[in-house]
């Protein structure tokens, strides 16, 4: 993932991390991906609260939920916890 590595003269001292983790896409870990049935979903955001990876997104402008598959690791918590059973895990 790290194509441009800094040399020892450029890196900050004391082991300070200088790249945001969002540069590292964990989405390729998954074998199952969540698919949402928009008809059933009532946007309660419970999937958002239970996602370990912050991969469930909320867009306040269009007031809708989305999945950021760049980071989703496919654990399936959202599908199990959805009170409306609106999320299904399918093979990629």
């Amino acid at each position: 993932m790290t194509s441009e590595q800094k040399g020892w003269k450029e890196i900050p001292i004391a082991g300070v991390c200088w790249r945001p983790a969002t540069d590292y896409l964990t989405g390729d870990w998954k074998t199952l991906k969540p698919v949402r049935d928009k008809e059933k979903c009532n946007k309660c955001l419970i999937c958002y609260m239970f996602c370990p990876d912050g991969a469930v997104t909320w867009d306040p402008e269009i007031e809708d939920i989305g999945f950021n598959l760049d980071y989703c690791k496919g654990c399936g918590i959202c599908a199990v916890e959805c009170p409306k059973k609106a999320i299904e895990m399918v093979h990629e």
């Binding site: 609260m49 370990p52 980071y71």
Partner: protein, 320 residues
């Protein structure tokens, strides 16, 4: 002490993410959920510090960092001392007029290894000195980061690599240390037990812990799919079972006065809602060996311990 803070799920969703995506926790990680929920309770500028443990490793793999706030990684044993130092430094800066914020919250995170075993002396000292910080213990009940070794937080009968279940010993022979009660005994203003399945309760407790003036201790159960041996999608389900079986009852102690929180209060008022502990054990692979004829008696033993601890808690809450 009641927090005046009210929130809706949308408020939380619109708050910027402090633990960013791209951290390398396993799929279905319980502690990652706990962190995300607690960091939704913040009220302004914060500094976080983390003892060595799973969440420190996965969130700051060099050169990446998942933290969008100032974050300091410390050794296993001194996260509370570190938080105390941060808080004192902030106080000194404020005295000199060099702090541009009115107040900065300090949160110390540690796992069960960094709290029950290695970090307890620093924690005890910081609590005794009365530093104003929130200490969050995410309890995944073993040293998961180094490969599932038993800790003081591992429950009786659980399999780990250093308390293996064989023909002679049925997993860990010792019992879980009541760490939150030890913290209440320190006489600190706020101690609470919470679970990510009841996220509204957890976020409110985290906020109370930040608002209180003095040390606050939050004990949060955080299942680990790798170490507890269950399917990644069951993390929240298992936490809910832990509360419903009274394995991990939810309560808070404000200035030493115990009170049950809503999900456990329901069980106290309607005891028929209490589920047998067997249901909690059978969904986890680390207790699989207990479901053999030779070790079946251990399940009854666990049930007895849980019942005894639950009764004792009810007495403390004046609900017996």
């Amino acid at each position: 002490m009641a927090s005046k803070w009210k929130f809706t799920t949308k408020d939380l969703a619109e708050k910027p993410e402090i633990l960013m995506s791209g951290h390398r926790a396993c799929a279905g990680c319980g502690p990652a959920i706990v962190y995300r929920q607690i960091l939704k309770a913040t009220r302004g500028p914060i500094i976080a510090t983390n003892a060595t443990g799973c969440m420190e490793v996965v969130s700051t793999i060099y050169p990446y960092t998942a933290w969008s706030i100032p974050f300091i990684h410390t050794a296993f044993e001194n996260v509370a001392a570190n938080a105390a130092g941060i808080e004192t430094a902030l106080k000194a800066l404020k005295k000199k007029g060099q702090l541009k914020y009115d107040h900065v919250d300090v949160i110390a995170f540690a796992g069960d290894g960094g709290t029950y075993d290695i970090g307890i002396q620093a924690l005890s000292g910081a609590a005794e000195r009365g530093h104003d910080f929130l200490y969050v213990l995410y309890d995944n009940e073993a040293y998961m980061n180094t490969g599932i070794q038993r800790s003081g937080g591992t429950p009786h009968g659980a399999w780990t690599t250093t308390s293996p279940a064989g023909r002679v010993i049925p997993g860990k022979p010792e019992y879980k240390k009541p760490i939150a009660d030890i913290m209440v005994a320190h006489g600190i203003p706020y101690v609470a037990a919470a679970s990510p399945a009841h996220w509204r309760d957890l976020i409110t407790k985290a906020r109370k812990g930040l608002e209180v003036n003095g040390p606050a201790f939050l004990h949060v159960i955080a299942p680990c799919p790798r170490g507890w041996r269950y399917d990644t999608s069951k993390t929240i389900e298992i936490t809910r079972l832990a509360v419903d079986t009274c394995v991990f009852p939810l309560w808070e102690a404000i200035d030493g006065e115990y009170a049950l929180s809503a999900p456990s209060k329901v069980i106290a008022l309607k005891p028929e809602r209490k589920i047998p502990v067997k249901d909690y054990l059978k969904v986890q692979g680390r207790f699989r060996h207990l479901f053999t004829p030779e070790f079946e008696h251990v399940i009854d033993e666990i049930q007895q311990i849980i019942d005894r601890r639950w009764k004792r808690l009810l007495k403390k809450c004046d609900m017996a």
